[in-house]
Subunit: 167 residues, 2 copies
């Protein structure tokens, strides 16, 4: 573990009643392209007993999104399933989503291997931040993450106002 962005996260994520991933974790991407899944997120993803996998895909803001497999399955069934192959934009979307996705099952050490095309998309080289964001994990290049946080965290209060969130 490196020490700049120390790791923090709730263990409640392991609970099956867990309501959302949270915390941020900094890891190194090793020579084989492997990165650790934050320990609190490893358990509680299991749907059927041999599927404790994540669906890893391209996401927004140069990050990768990783969904619990079962959740991903629902999204596909409810939303992507009924897009028509006949429509060019729908094809383009479906292609992007699926061809840039991997179903990955953590190894015994809790790591996943990120394929080269996804590494490229997210500009990952050696330092990586994994953030828990409600229903997904986000995998960022550490530098990009830090820059992003620096820019947006200042404006947190403004943003909350925009959305009229009532705590």
């Amino acid at each position: 573990m490196t020490d700049e962005t120390e790791n923090s996260g709730s263990d409640v994520a392991g609970n099956s009643r867990n309501y959302g991933f949270n915390g941020q974790f900094r890891y190194s991407l090793d020579e084989k392209g492997r990165v650790a899944i934050p320990a609190p997120f490893r358990r509680g993803v299991v749907a059927a007993d041999d599927i404790d996998s994540f669906q890893l895909t391209v996401g927004f803001d140069n990050a990768l999104f990783a969904f619990p497999y079962e959740y991903w399955r629902e999204v596909v069934e409810r939303q992507i399933n009924n897009l028509s192959v006949m429509e060019a934009r729908a094809r383009s979307f479906t292609r992007a989503i699926f061809s840039n996705a991997v179903t990955c099952k953590p190894d015994k050490q809790g790591r996943i291997t990120i394929p080269p095309n996804l590494r490229r998309y997210a500009r990952l080289d050696s330092e990586v931040v994994i953030a828990g964001v409600y229903n997904r994990l986000e995998i960022w290049a550490a530098e990009i993450w830090e820059e992003y946080e620096r820019l947006t965290l200042d404006r947190f209060e403004e943003v909350v106002e925009d959305f009229d969130i009532r705590f």
Copy 2:
């Protein structure tokens, strides 16, 4: 294996509970016109025990589509079956789809042979990308694929908005 668009794909795709093909793989088309089927896609296509074949056809955007045989059979029965021979456009469509199709069974090494007319259609020469796109594989000439991805992946976020996909 070449190294620019390295291969990526999930092994869970082999699972019968698999929900859709995904990942992208780069292969070389050999002198005999053979190309490897991505390993994760080889298993789990079996319907009856001697039918572990793909139906290979002309697809959209200069790509070839390959469907698991059983899935193809359903599509034909449910949809193509009730097109009328009386309608010129329907005839043309049916002709194109069937006359440019092959049922192909991977050899012991997991390769299929792509017939010349399909190679021509998809402008395949030596470098090929095979993408898993939900219910089908797509076979592209590597250059065309890269160009296509370059154009569409940037616009990914817009497209998601357009389709109002909620993760």
